[in-house]
Structure formats: structure tokens, C-alpha cells
Amino acid sequence: MKKLIAVALVIVLCLSLMPAAFADDLIKVGVVNNPPSESGYREANVNDFINVFTKENGYDASFFYSIKNDEQLSAARQFITDGVDYLLISAAETTGWDAVLKDAQEAGIGVFLFDRMIDCDPALFEAAVVSDMAKEGETAVGWLLDQKLNEYNVIHIQGAMGSDAQLGRTGALDEQFDKGTMKKVVQQTATWDEAEAKKIVESVINSGDPFNVIYAENDGMAKGAVAALDEAGITHGVDKDVIVMGFDCNKWALRELQAGNWNYDGQCSPFQAQVISDMIQVLQGGGTIEGLNENKQIISVEKGFDAREITEEDILTYGLGEDVTVG
């Protein structure tokens, strides 16, 4: 009986080793991410990793999605047990990862963080590819200053208070309000809710306060704001009464830019897979990764689009989500 069990165990062991033997030349990668249902941004992010880490590109990739930190942690442990070569993580929460990352390091697994940082010793990961939300705000406000308006009366519609995107996109504008270069007509949170954004702009219109800029911290809220303008008969867009600014670069929003109904849309790039893939190739070739900042980060390059300059190619390359179908 004991012999039988031993034989069975050996067979199981052989079987379990077989795929590894076959997939020898592929780089095994485990990706822990948030679920695509979170947002259009996340959907694009998830697809980006699926499209880059393919067999054709020399990867054997497994994916795990959860919005819960503990589920992500156990998935990461499972990937370490499975013996992946690289672990790619976009953490749901910034804390609690130290033990897992140490395990990975001991197992000789290279860890890359993307999209979201983790509070830990930078020695525990190879590099982090992240967005700088504050820079997004600075780029947008810089563009606004370049418009050289005679006066800036800004309606500022904020996202959910305390979220990374809200803090980053608010910071640069607050600075202008404090300096006095721009006048704050109203600053209110719509918690990313399009309909709420419309109500906020309605209330400004009803109060009769003059304004000429709408700075909405995402595309949906910009659309809500524009709906309020349309109902009140206020013109908006290129060379019109009110400048409309949004963020996230949804395809439908970029189409609004193309049509001249909006003026500016800031990008929050979800495309980090290629950068990580390039770094993995460097490590595989025995090289060291260069171009990191003091926190071992690489900041994604983010664009802002001007309605007067946007091209069809920009929309197809950088637009998120599905394209507009004309009904």
C-alpha cells in the first residue's frame, strides 16, 4: 500500500512538472490586478496586460482579479508557490504586502508594481510603473493658463473626496485659486456622479454668477456639466463662451473634443504593460533597469489633448472604452 502511494505521488509529481518542462522557454508571469468592472480605465488596463503578455511575446501569463486586498494577497502567494518568474501587482490597498513581497524575494521572483504604489521598502520590488495624478492636474492647469483668458471664473467639479485622482487633479487648481490668478466660482464634489455635476452647474447658472471655465475631474462629470449648459442656452467649446475640461480620455469624450464641444481632456494612462515587459527583457538579458527615480518609480507619460489639435489617430490610440455610434 505504501509503495502504491509512493508511486502515485511520483506520477503526480512528474505530471505537475511536465507543463513546466514544456513551457521552459516561456517567461512565467503572475498578474494580480483589480477587476475590469471597476471602471473604463481598469478595463483598458486589464486588456493592455492581456495583449502584451502573450505567448507570441514569450510569456506564460496567469491573471487574477479582485477588489479585495486579502484575496489579492492569497493569489500572490499562490503565484509564488506556482513558481512564477515575475509577479506584477496593482494592489487594492497600499498596506499588508510586506510578508508576501519578502517571500517573493526569497523565492527569487522579480516583483513589479503598476498603477498603484504599496507602502513598503523599495528594496522589495524591482520597479513601480505609476501615474502621477498631481502632474495630470498640473498639465491641465498649465494648458488652461496658456489660453491667456482675460479672467478665469472657474466652476470646479471634484471627484470622490480623498481619492487619488481627486487629490491630484484638485491640487494644481487650488494653487491657482490661492494665488488669485483664477477665481473660484464654485468648488463642489459630485463624487464622480454625472447627474450631480449637472445639478451643481445648474445651481451656479441659477445664481447668476458669471463663469467661463468648467474644470471637471472626469469625463462623465464634464458631460453632466455640459448638459446643464445646453439646457440654459450657454455655448461651450472651441471659441465659445465656456471652456470645458475633462479627464480620463474616454473615446466618446475625445469625440466631443473632435467636434469642438469640449476644449481639453487629460489622460490618465492605463498602458503600463509594455514598459514592464521591456524591463523584464532587460533583466532576462542580465542587465539592470535604468531610469528609475529615488522611489524606484517610473512615471507614466501622460498627455493632455487640445480640441484644436486632436487627430483621429489620437482618438483611436488613446481613447478608452467603446467608440461613439451615431444613433
Binding site: S37, E38, S39, G40, Y41, E43, Q158, M161, V186, Q187, Q188, T189, T191, W192, D193, E194, A195, K198, K199, I200, E202, S203, I205, N206, S207, D219, G220, K223, G224, A227, L229, D230, E231, A232, G233, I234, T235, N250, W252, L320, G321, E322, V324, T325, V326, G327
Partner: protein, 360 residues
């Protein structure tokens, strides 16, 4: 004449409508003092060249539409089951997603297609309502727990229906539903609310539904012994709420021609329950007055618009809202009502005693 007046006051004092009416009155007075032109309504021309009404009053009535419709349905569920449905926002997101999905399936958006899309999203929402209702009515699960299921997964289902993050639709018909019908200066959502109100009024006038719901809510077994199908009545109330969710979802989507499953009518379930409570309805079921919930819903929206108009800092909005709501709820509590009643009686006897002395 004096007698009739005091009788009217007496009716109002005992009426559950007192609290929502006082709430609205306070908000009106407060706003008039703050800015006398707050409620002025003007006629402007929108970007399509049609005349439209504009002003804070219109914003309040228009913006509250979804909440009013949901609180109508919520009143029935509360009365019949003695609990609340916390999945209305999620269900409205599902209904809105189905609505958009159908609209995008055909080539061009025509009136029959919009009608078909609405009927289908209504059917889907009523089916989900029946699911909630059967958990409550057949399996005797607490309504809040039963609807927690759909509350948790509803927006994921909506995402799955959308198949993408935020599909958009644009068509003059959709614009007419969510904004203005060309030539009619009143926002369409307000007209839809009026229509829903008339429907419910007719339903209560010509059927025994209202009576049956109240009797099931007051004592389920007694109602059953009297030949009322209490399971069926509870189920029906959830199905009606489902239809309300479909209408609210359709309005929400049509306002901007965009469905965002994460934000469409987010957190509205709490406001709907609050509207029912401010309306003086017993959250434990039984007797109800739908008009109370409707007034409660308008009071909540008036509060939001007031805070926007006051330019309250975004970090403080919720705190302000909470303070007002605490005041309203305490004002409507039986303890306060009783104390006020006692005070009134004492004053009256004192006055009568004073008048008696004067005569001597």
C-alpha cells in the same frame, strides 16, 4: 370660522404630513431670507433653440424626479413588508443598462425602439423585483438582507450588460425624455413624475390595493385569515417597486445619454428610505401615505440644492445634510410630537383660565 380653523390645525397636527411640510416650509423661508430671488423662475432658450423654464425651483422639481418615483415604490414595500429595499439604485442601474443595450442594438433610434427598450427594461426590473419579493414573501427573509444580494451584485450585473465602461447614446428622442420635449418648457422628468402620481392615485382609487397592503403590513396573519393573499401582496409591492426602478433608471440614463453603472443613482436607496421616513411613514410597515414620501423626497432635494447654492465646501456637504436630517427625524419622533401636544394643551388651558378670570 374660528372653529373650522382650529379643526384644520388639529387635523394637520395629527397628520403625518406635518414634518415634511414644515421641512419644506423652513427651507423655503430660509432661502427667501438668504436670497429673495432664489425661487424665481425664468424662461430662456436652450441650445436647441427651444424655450425652457429655468430656476432653482425647476432644478429641485426636476432633480428630485428619480428619487420621488423610487420613494413612491419604496413606500409600498415598506408598508407591506415592514422593511426596506436597499437594492433600488443597483436595480435602476441594471434597468438603465438594459435600456441602453436595446437602444444600441438597432441601427437608428426610433420611437418604437425606445418604447420597446423601455418595456423590456421594465420587464427585467420587475423580474428582479419579483426575485427580491419572493425572498421576502416566500422565505420570510428580512427585506434588508434579501435585497442586500442585489445591492451587492446589481452594479456588476449592469457592468456585464454594458460590456464596456460607459456606453453613450445620443438621439433627439432620448434628449426629449431626459431633458425637454421641443415646444414644452417643463422638463420631461417632472411630467413623468406627475404621470406616475396619477397612475398611483388611480390604482388606489379603483382597486383595494392600498387597503390590502396596509392590512398585510399591520398584521400578516390576520390579513391572511381574512382572505387576503399576503404573500402575493408583498410580492406585488416589490414588483411595483421594480417598475419604479425601471422608470427612474430610464430617466437617469436619458438625462445625459450615458450609462455609468458605478454612479447612476448612487446611494439613492438611502435617500429613498429617508424620504419615506421624513414622510412620517412607519418604517415597520402598516399604514402609509404616499404623498408624505413624495414631499419628503422634494425636501431632500431642496436641501441639496440649497447647500449647492450656499456654496458649502465639498468636504462639509454631508455634515450639513446630516445636521438637518437629524433635526427632521427628531422632530417627527413620537416623543417630541407628544411633548409638543402636551405643551399645546397646557397653553390652551392656561389661556382659557385667563379668559375665565377676565370675564369675572
Amino acid at each position: 370660522m374660528n372653529k373650522r380653523k382650529s379643526k384644520a390645525i388639529g387635523v394637520l397636527k395629527n397628520s403625518q404630513l406635518l414634518v415634511p411640510l414644515i421641512a419644506i416650509l423652513l427651507l423655503v423661508v430660509f432661502n427667501l431670507i438668504r436670497d429673495p430671488s432664489f425661487f424665481s423662475v425664468g424662461l430662456t432658450t436652450n441650445n436647441n433653440g427651444d424655450p425652457v423654464l429655468q430656476g432653482n425651483l425647476i432644478s429641485i422639481l426636476n432633480g428630485a424626479s428619480e428619487l420621488v418615483i423610487l420613494s413612491m415604490g419604496m413606500t409600498l414595500v415598506t408598508a407591506a413588508s415592514g422593511g426596506q429595499d436597499i437594492s433600488v439604485g443597483a436595480l435602476a442601474a441594471i434597468a438603465g443598462s438594459v435600456f441602453v443595450k436595446i437602444l444600441k442594438s438597432g441601427g437608428s433610434i426610433s420611437a418604437p425602439l425606445v418604447l420597446g427598450a423601455f418595456l423590456l427594461c421594465c420587464a427585467v426590473a420587475m423580474a428582479f423585483g419579483a426575485f427580491n419579493g419572493s425572498l421576502v414573501a416566500l422565505f420570510n427573509i428580512q427585506p434588508m438582507i434579501a435585497t442586500l444580494i442585489l445591492f451587492t451584485c446589481g452594479r456588476s450585473i449592469a457592468y456585464w450588460i454594458n460590456g464596456g465602461a460607459t456606453p453613450t447614446v445620443s438621439s433627439p428622442i432620448i434628449n426629449a425624455i431626459g431633458s425637454f420635449i421641443p415646444g414644452i418648457p417643463i422638463p420631461t422628468p417632472i411630467l413623468i413624475v406627475i404621470l406616475m402620481g396619477i397612475l398611483f392615485a388611480l390604482l388606489f382609487r379603483f382597486t383595494t390595493l392600498s387597503l390590502y397592503i396596509q392590512s398585510v403590513g399591520i398584521n400578516q396573519s390576520a390579513a391572511r385569515l381574512n382572505g387576503i393573499n399576503s404573500v402575493g401582496i408583498k410580492l406585488l409591492s416589490f414588483i411595483i417597486l421594480g417598475a419604479c426602478c425601471a422608470v427612474a433608471g430610464m430617466i437617469g440614463v436619458s438625462r445625459l445619454g450615458l450609462i455609468n453603472h458605478e454612479t447612476l443613482l448612487i446611494n439613492i436607496e438611502m435617500d429613498a428610505i429617508l424620504a419615506v421616513a421624513i414622510g412620517g411613514n412607519n418604517l415597520g410597515g402598516g399604514k402609509f401615505k404616499m404623498i408624505g414620501s413624495v414631499l419628503g423626497a422634494y425636501a431632500i432635494q431642496a436641501l441639496t440644492i440649497t447647500l449647492y447654492a450656499m456654496k458649502v465646501p465639498s468636504t462639509d456637504v454631508k455634515a450639513y445634510k446630516a445636521v438637518v436630517i437629524v433635526l427632521l427625524v427628531v422632530m417627527g419622533s413620537p416623543v417630541v410630537k407628544e411633548a409638543v401636544g402636551r405643551l399645546g394643551t397646557r397653553l390652551r388651558t392656561a389661556r382659557r383660565a385667563g379668559a375665565g378670570k377676565g370675564a369675572v
